[in-house]
């Protein structure tokens, strides 16, 4: 029982670490490879007519 509990706990810990690293890597890929932040910047600096119900 205790062994199972520890195993489950370690898996939970690993999941958190993997997601954290994956998120940081994804941000890096998005910025440095795809320049995705420019897409975001371009979209967000023009009035989004769809968002306000005019599109």
């Amino acid at each position: 029982m205790e062994k199972d509990n520890r195993r489950e706990f370690k898996i939970g810990q690993l999941k958190t670490l993997v997601i954290l690293v994956a998120a940081i890597v994804a941000i890096g890929i998005g910025i440095f490879y795809f320049q995705e932040h420019y897409t975001v910047l371009m979209k967000s600096t023009t009035v989004c007519l769809e968002c306000i119900g005019l599109g």
Partner: protein, 299 residues
Amino acid sequence: MANIKSKFKRHDRNRNLFQFIFTLITNSYIVGFFKGRIYQGNSKFVCVPGLNCYSCPGAVGSCPIGSMQAVLGNRVDKVPFYVGGMVALYGIVGGRYTCGWLCPFGWLQDLLYKIKLPKGFRKFRKLKGEQYLEKLRYLILVVFVIILPLFLVDFTGLGSPYFCSWICPSGTLSGLFLMAANKPLRDIVGLLFAWKNFLLALTIIGSIIVYRPFCRYVCPLGAIYGLFNKVAIYHFEIDPTKCDNCQACQNVCKLSIKVFETPNSTACIRCKDCIAACPSGAIVEKFNLKLKEPAPLKI
């Protein structure tokens, strides 16, 4: 008892103040409200954690859900690495902490819920079919935020932000601020605007009667963050040596979560009302990778 009541009141006031300050920070382009225009500076490439429309005149950051649809509806790079990564980062660090403390639209609903109803009317903790309604936000996330912008494209290959266009009341509210000081925008209102205002009115009235209906049943961002609650670095733990199953946490929770059983439920917005109300201090906030070994189970 009086001590807990005053502690609870203080906690509520502090949370409101925190939400107000964060809303002010992320919407600090005050000039925009008077001139009827939006901020166009470089800080807008950063996605803010909460649902904060980038068409709000004050917004100095980008809405993650709007940005995600913009990338998915793009002609070429259709995988939202950057936006997805940002959302995952916010989620893995705080889970739904954003919903309870950092989201301006969540704060608005909190304020609306404080409005007292006239005699003869009552507020509801749960709606009929709550378990099905809770799933609606996942459906909205998959259909309106991912599938439609990705596949329903125009002749140039561009997809629209369908969640923003057809559903999001946060955008409608931002639009009202923008239109108030911008006559050319007022001149092009149509049927879609009427539909979105109907949804906004429904959300406002609903928020007075039910606690945070938009967050519970509609918000795709809350749906994503909720999935992180169980694995987030910031989480709740129950100290079994202190908890005496008095259920004070569940009674005070406006979302009726059995905190003593599921402290990291996907529905929990981390408002921390339960912590303030717990008479024995059994609910503990943790900010770690759970590096400590768990205590052996008592058999």
